[in-house]
Symmetry: C2
Subunit: 701 residues, 2 copies
């Protein structure tokens, strides 16, 4: 083992140690030029969308008003929707033929920007144009596009997306709502057969939506009258008349108050044999002809369903991106507060005898800025680094999604990989946001608890992001499942037992499959002769090898454990279902870890690809340090695993922690530059506890 | 090293493995008898207070109503206060002479119970009777008791506690507000000299309070007119007239909306040379005679201040206890939900082909209960175990506080130790609550986000508990500081530099100082011949030794690092303050760790003392398992440290994780029994998402 497991080299213009403590002096200012360069890199491929969004959102009319009651909050969100609809903002999500501009990447980026301003509005816009509009666009065919896209873009048609049921939120393949074709009238009968089949948490269902995209088991009958179940399909069902009054057979109720998102009118919908024309079936992946014959380009019911879900991936990607935005707003507020708030004139946390009694003058001179405390750096800066990492990963994901969605014949393997990445990144981003906003609230003390300083609203509104568009645990499991089966197409056909057997028979070798950063990563690895076991932890190639090696090992051992637990028979029946379940259950934490560490590797590679877009210079040097902090902090948080599996000696493990501390000290003078680099519109940071951000020339747009 | 680092012995009537999976069958029911025994042990010394509180709180009149707007929420809380005042509930906190019943332990326990029902009401009651009443009781003398205690008990006098200022929340010794004696009129002039000296976040200041207990620097003048600053004292200042109108020189403003606690009317107070009679000084620890001469039984300004703060310790203990209550409510809701909510008919997280199409019948048969998933057990059961541990630690703390507060001559060392323990446990309890409630919300999915299911309200209301009554980081540092100086009385006199030098010159040997569980612990250690390095991790003695050894090592090494960083000179001046600060700052994370691991040990010992009160039998066996889960999960969360410091081999580290998983499986059938053992009044669990809890006979009171 080397004697110096962590390099003390300082590869760039880092300030000397003393500069990192502002002590009694002024807080460091943001470096305008570097911040602008960082912003340019982080803005990425849809920088033009971000810029026009910034201009649009620099307007109090788009802000939430937390003092409003529930009804007024919902009215405000609807007014803001109409204001949005008068711009071109929402047209990018729809094809040119149907009246849009055909820029899916721009649409998702726009949602991410909207999340800086107002999460209720972001969700409401996401429901209308992303989910409802997306269902019509992607599951419907030309007749639906012609009839509905233009009105829904303009908000002449308000819709909702009725997938989740009381009984089924995660397991949507087993929804209970039925859509039964009646050949006698050429209609589809939509019905809620049980209390648990009632649609729930549906945004727009309580008040504003006039039509629902209803997901239901599609049923036809054969010549003998035997029911044929074709699995989940989507049917357009009017739920209110033009005046908002109820329609026959449709019962909506209001979910009422939630933990946040007061502007979103979530509700329940129950259908009592509601009839719609057969043509209301969104029939791109499954159709019924006038004779009642069902046809589909995809034979497998299960694969058909997952193909449909795959086309709706923008929603999940938007939620992950929006969570990233919320986290960045919180971080910028907390960093700015820590750069002006002072507490304690001397270290030690208690005695203040050093402050002379003065009979009334200010006692605040000589106190220490919060940002100068090691503990404060430790709580904020690694999260800041992770926000950068996730931001670059999100950019890469959106770019990949865009290219696949505009492709004539998208590669199916790529599509599966995209869906998996979207699932994993959604989980990472939303868990990160939950953690960051909580940490920022606490780091701002009592001021952080005041609504006027935004942090509690961000927390309340974003809290459900870990749940909707896919529960994070379920999504992480999905990532692992795909990895363990190498995105095999056959797997979606299997039940769990079949899946376990498939894993048992397949040697997973997917870890080498690289992100878009493939060449960049290879270059870094090739030019280094550092080894995994003894290399300098400050070296990028060593970090990369550690992330890769961890993923490979966790996947291989998970596959091995699943293999041991797999059934020995060759049929799916005849086994003891309880024993099957236990076999899976005993490996669940290992499987989830496989999903998590995969995403960690993907995020690191995306960060490096992002840096590669930055010209040589101080901005790039700074991003390199931020990336090292991300990588080493990620290793630090998992270092028990690295030690247990012989990947880190105890000495090297201690060095990781030491190096994270040193990086915090080194990055501390740049904290304000880094958050300024997020490019968050100034009006959104106008917290009462902060001195006017107007002193920062970058914001003087 | 032993080959079997974790015992596979099953010391009690644990169910066989298969019983732990309810699979397709019914959820396990709570064992009524065992739950009742657990409740009796957990209720502890003030069981009678808990029982009468349960009876009182089983009443919708004490519940919060989240649908109310800000004004109505505050009116409701005040009405509920008046309802409380009509009981004897609040009298226990005050001495018999002044019209109370003199039962401080009962008073704090009562607050903890109130927190089950309504956190706004708990805070408002805590401000009135705990903080304001406590200041009058503990800092005042007979004249104040006579005049104010009876009215404030009855709510004829509504008060507030004006300590925190905009500029000083944590560093309260350096408050800026002044209280200057004017011998010409025999008055004290209370003044806010700067904007940062404005009192802020003061509960009651926005609307309801008529009088404030104002903390201010007390100033007299010597014969030459030179000001003499005596440090922070408390003065009673009327802030509103009987009709709620403003008084001359007093400006109050409303803090408005917060992240939660809508019933509490927090506000700001500024004083413009407000005059009150000299006798309004709460003069127990410092008095001014008619000639303007200041006298105090305590010479040191700093020690005097910390002595005053020490008498107000109930507030901090109440907040920790209330956070514990909020966490238990969340856990019971989440466990009950997980015992009825099913999702996915087969493991694997995706395919549901096993469910036959049935054209409309319920598809929910055969689905798995959430509580049966390993991941769900992993996320809830260790937190449940920790809630038990903290509950017992809280009981021990309250008991110790009670004994010291009713003692004729409380031991000063014990008092210091109590204050440190209260600080540490407040931090642990409130961080635990923040984590638990968040985890429970996520574990309940979309339903958890609905206000009607209580979890989001618990989160919003309890969120600031990590901040008020002492920021958790500052408190944890305080714990470490006291440990590192062995509660030396001299230390409160020192500035930080003096403190570092003191540490440098003193060998800390406080870890052997035991909690009230001293004899129980010694018995466990004496009868075991297991060693720290090779012992069976399932053995209590091994766990105890690991906790102790960790604390000792962290403290010793922190002292050593502080010593290296301490100034070499012998005066407090002449040193470079920046260098001093950096020396401290570079050790801050180590110092904080010392505070945290100390509290972990204290909590484990308290858990064992609690178990010792439980008769032999299945309830005790169950608690022993819960305690093992707490201990091993605590080690698991810190196992990188244990490995880095040669306390755990990699094999033993893996065994810890394996054993935590096994304990989750073993405890899973008892989850409902355990939460039932909390004894939370039934009405408080009446969540819309839960089937009526009335099926549980323990609750059929």
């Amino acid at each position: 083992m080397t004697d110096t497991p962590v390099s003390t080299r300082r590869p760039h213009s880092a300030p000397a140690t003393h500069d990192s403590i502002s002590g009694n002096g002024a807080a460091p200012a943001a470096d305008v030029e570097i911040a602008a360069q960082i912003r340019a890199v982080l803005d990425g491929r849809w920088a033009h969308v971000r810029e026009s969004s910034r201009a649009m959102l620099d307007d109090a009319a788009f802000l939430d008003d937390p003092s409003l009651d529930l009804d007024a909050s919902r009215r405000l969100a609807l007014e803001q929707m109409r204001r949005l609809a008068r711009t071109d903002w929402q047209a990018s999500g729809f094809g040119v033929a149907a009246g849009g501009t055909g820029d899916p990447g721009g649409a998702v980026t726009g949602i991410e920007m909207l999340a800086y301003a107002n999460l209720s509005l972001m969700v409401k816009a996401g429901v209308q144009w992303g989910l409802f509009g997306g269902a019509v666009e992607n599951l419907g065919t030309e007749r639906h596009h012609r009839e509905y896209i233009a009105p829904l873009i303009r908000l002449d048609l308000l819709g909702c997306f009725a997938m989740t049921e009381i009984g089924h939120g995660s397991d949507v393949q087993n929804l209970e709502t039925t859509a039964t074709f009646d050949p006698g009238t050429d209609e589809i009968v939509v019905h809620t057969p049980t209390p648990s089949a009632v649609k729930d948490y549906i945004g727009g269902a309580a008040l504003h939506a006039r039509m629902a995209a209803v997901f239901a088991q599609l049923i036809t009958h054969d010549a003998d009258g035997t029911p044929l179940d074709h699995g989940v399909h989507c049917v357009l069902v009017p739920i209110r008349d033009d005046d908002g009054g109820p329609l026959p057979g449709v019962t909506t109720t209001d979910d009422g108050l939630k933990g946040g998102l007061r502007g979103v009118d979530n509700g329940r919908i129950a259908f009592d044999h509601v009839r719609v024309p057969r043509t209301n079936l969104l029939n791109r992946y499954g159709d019924i002809d006038a004779d009642g014959r069902y046809t589909s380009p995809i034979d497998s019911r299960s694969r058909r369903f997952f193909t449909m879900l795959g086309t709706l991936i923008r929603g999940r990607i938007s939620v992950g991106g929006s969570a990233g935005s919320a986290a960045r707003v919180a971080l910028e507020i907390a960093v700015r507060y820590a750069e002006q708030r002072r507490q304690f004139s001397v270290p030690g946390g208690g005695s203040g005898d050093a402050a002379a009694p003065d009979g009334g003058g200010p006692r605040r001179t000589g106190e220490v800025l919060l940002m100068d405390y090691l503990q404060h750096q430790r709580r904020l800066l690694p999260l800041l680094a992770r926000s950068f990492a996730l931001g670059f990963a999100q950019n890469e994901l959106v770019s990949k999604m865009h290219d696949l969605q505009v492709a004539q014949e998208p590669d199916q393997h790529e599509q599966r990989e995209l869906e998996s990445r979207a699932a994993g990144l959604k989980a990472s981003q939303t868990w990160h946001a939950t953690r960051v906003i909580q940490e920022c609230r606490e780091a701002c003390g009592g001021a952080g608890y005041m609504t006027e300083n935004h942090l509690t609203g961000l927390k309340a509104d974003s809290d459900v992001f870990t749940t909707f568009e896919g529960d994070n645990t379920v999504l992480t499991q999905l990532v692992a499942k795909e990895l363990l089966t190498s995105y095999s197409d056959e797997v979606s056909e299997f039940g769990a037992v079949g899946w376990m057997r498939f894993v048992a028979e397949t040697v997973a070798d997917t870890v080498r499959e690289r992100t878009a950063a493939r060449q960049i990563i290879q270059r870094i690895l090739d030019r280094s002769d550092e080894t995994l076991e003894e290399g300098d932890l400050a070296e990028r190639s060593v970090q990369l090898r550690m992330f890769e090696d961890r993923e490979q090992h966790v996947l291989e051992t998970a596959a091995r454990r699943l293999r041991r637990g797999a059934p020995s028979g060759d049929g799916e029946d005849g086994e003891d279902p309880l024993a099957e379940f236990e076999a899976f259950n005993s490996v669940q934490d290992h499987v989830l870890r496989a999903g998590r560490v995969h995403i960690e590797r993907v995020v690191l590679e995306a960060f490096l690809a992002g840096i590669d877009e930055c010209p040589e210079g101080p901005a790039r040097d700074l991003l390199e340090d931020v990336c090292t902090l991300y990588a080493l902090h990620s290793i630090e948080e998992d270092k028990a695993w690295f030690m247990e599996h012989g990947r880190l000696s105890t000495e090297r493990a201690k060095a990781v922690t030491r190096h994270v501390g040193e990086l915090c000290t080194r990055l501390r003078p740049h904290a304000l530059t880094l958050v300024t680099g997020f490019g968050i519109p100034r009006i959104l940071l106008d917290s009462a506890m902060l001195d006017g951000p107007g002193t920062d020339p970058v914001r003087q747009r």
